[in-house]
């Protein structure tokens, strides 16, 4: 267990169709804001009959780790990849006890409710790694020095949920080169931005003295499983739907998670020294900032974002090819009639618009929690989003309209 980081190779990342595939599973970068809010949204269903959100948050990753093992991953591979992906540093204390001195989920509190154990993901990852049931016994959020996990003799009862074949689209149009696309005139060089941002080391290290966290742009990132996000989001959404919760409220919770993610993480990227040295010199207008941020988004594994139309301060239309939510939905569920299903992309696109047309991130405001609340309790100059096309509903791409 004591291999040093520099003697261990990083996993092979295959970048294809806007996805970053590791071990046959698509991964996406997401921030602690998104992970905390998404987990909070899932846990709203605590105590709701047989739904059991805690099991959902735990077992969903177990199934994915089991798939990695079927594809040849060793225990050491999984330990390294846990850190590489920014989930923290996992180590065994004794036969039945593991701990994470540092972990993404154990250190990022979603402060709305009373603090509770939050490392469902880590428990589920260990379940897959060990083939045994695992429960968190101590959590840093509750004041413990480390997160600790007890291993039980019984095996977890978990089934693979990625049961449907759905291939990534391979013929994705170039930027600005598709029917219906507005003629844009910009100096923003997407290829250059992608090449430069890809060179930033966005991974954690599995070694003594390292945290196994990814700290970048003033936030903490994970390189997460799309299967995990889609499974926990859609199972929760369907549970809320079946309980009679109005669509507007339940979708709003997930869109909010994407919006908070975009507002904080895109906002920090667009305030970073890297952004100012590379992207800002290419920009003359807010439209250029939009083009620049879309280029940065296109390294995250979220699919391929293409701007279709901009009417400054009024309307943004965005397409997403191979959106990870659309693709992920089709790998778990049959097609749906509902077009408004890519919650993260809706919130993210809206958040990006708000950063430029409501707030003007170019003024470098301090992106504090109070600032966020102040902005979004003020209805002036706020926008809404709708999804008109959805891969989940059988369309070629996701398409979003943000308007005021």
């Amino acid at each position: 267990m004591n291999h040093s980081e520099d003697t261990y190779k990083h996993p092979q990342v295959i970048a294809t169709g806007g996805h970053n595939v590791i071990g046959g599973l698509s991964r996406v970068y997401h921030c602690s804001y998104y992970n905390a809010y998404l987990q909070m949204a899932v846990l709203l269903t605590q105590g709701m009959g047989t739904h059991q959100p805690e099991r959902l948050l735990t077992d969903s990753v177990t199934a994915l780790v089991q798939l990695l093992k079927q594809r040849g991953y060793t225990k050491l591979d999984l330990l390294h990849e846990f850190s590489y992906s920014g989930f923290g540093f996992l180590q065994q204390l004794d036969e039945n006890t593991w701990e994470t001195p540092h972990s993404h989920y154990g250190e990022n509190l979603c402060t709305h409710g009373k603090p509770q154990k939050t490392c469902y993901f880590t428990s589920g990852y260990l379940q897959g790694l060990l083939g045994k049931r695992v429960e968190e016994t101590e959590c840093k959020l509750l004041g413990a020095p480390t997160d600790q996990f007890a291993v039980f003799d019984d095996a977890p009862n978990v089934e693979n949920f990625l049961t449907r074949q759905f291939e990534l689209q391979t013929t994705i149009p170039e930027r600005f080169a598709f029917e219906g696309c507005q003629g844009f005139n910009t100096r923003v060089d997407e290829e250059k931005i992608i090449a430069n941002f890809k060179a930033i080391p966005l991974y954690g290290k599995h070694a003594q003295g390292e945290t196994g966290l990814i700290k970048a742009f003033g936030t903490i990132l994970t390189n997460h499983f799309i299967g995990y996000y889609n499974r926990i989001s859609y199972e929760t959404y369907f549970a809320l739907h079946n309980a009679g919760i109005p669509e507007e409220d339940s979708k709003e919770m997930f869109i909010q998670a994407g919006h908070i993610c975009a507002f904080n993480t895109f906002g920090r990227i667009m305030s970073s020294p890297e952004w100012y040295s590379l992207v800002v010199p290419m920009c003359e207008s807010k439209d250029d900032w939009l083009h620049g941020m879309i280029a940065a988004i296109n390294i995250l594994g979220w699919g391929v974002y293409r701007i279709e139309k901009i009417v400054p301060e009024k309307e943004l239309i965005m397409r997403v090819y191979n959106s990870y939510e659309g693709v992920g939905f089709r790998r778990i569920y049959p097609p749906t009639d509902d077009k408004n299903m890519s919650f993260l992309a809706m919130g993210a696109t809206l958040g990006l618009v708000h950063l430029l047309w409501k707030v003007d991130i170019r003024d470098k405001p301090a992106l504090t929690e109070d600032f966020y609340v102040e902005q979004f309790n003020n209805p002036e100059n706020s926008y809404t989003v709708e999804q008109t096309h959805a891969i989940a509903a059988g369309d070629e791409y996701d398409r979003f309209i943000v308007s005021n």
Binding site: L44, T45, G47, M48, T111, H112, G113, K114, L240, A243, G244, I245, P246, E248, D249, S250, K251, E252, M253, I255, Q256, H259, N340, M346, G347, L350, E369, D370, Y372, V373, E374, F376, N377, N378, P379, S382, T384, V385, E386, I401, S403
Partner: protein, 141 residues
């Protein structure tokens, strides 16, 4: 006025009205006193609507300017605010809720916290809209 958790035998037919803008403002005041982050109104309204429906099997739209609650629902609201928003608001609720009789008799008495007293000068919840654009349902052909 005694609220339902302050009396031994629950009266079943009371209906209370509460200004959601005043409620959310008081909620954030309570959170800020504990050094917890404030939460924007849209998120409070959506989250509270979901939690309330799951707890009580009845839906209340907290995006409207006022919410009407019966005794059991008022108790549920108090519990949800404490459990899911870390805000113990017994005293605040006492000042915020109005019975129908009070509303009818004294319509000119302002709430302790009125929308216009909020720091940003905003606050009428009928101005709140969510992020998702909901189009009216088309009637079947």
């Amino acid at each position: 006025m005694k609220l339902p958790w302050e009396i031994n035998t629950m009266t079943e037919n009371n209906v209370y009205s509460i200004s959601t803008s005043a409620l959310f403002h008081a909620l954030n005041v309570s959170r800020k006193k504990q050094d917890l982050m404030a939460i924007e109104n849209t998120l409070i309204a959506s989250k509270l609507g979901i939690l309330f429906a799951l707890k009580t099997n009845s839906y209340v739209n907290f995006k409207h300017e006022n919410a009407e609650l019966n005794d059991a629902q008022l108790i549920a609201l108090q519990e949800l605010l404490e459990q899911h928003f870390s805000a113990k608001m017994t005293d605040e609720l006492r000042t915020l809720v109005k019975t129908r009789e009070q509303l009818q008799e004294k319509t000119d008495i302002p709430h302790n916290i009125t929308p216009s007293s909020q720091p940003d000068g905003q606050g009428l919840l009928n101005k709140i809209r969510g992020f998702l654009k909901i189009r009216p349902q088309e009637s079947p052909a």
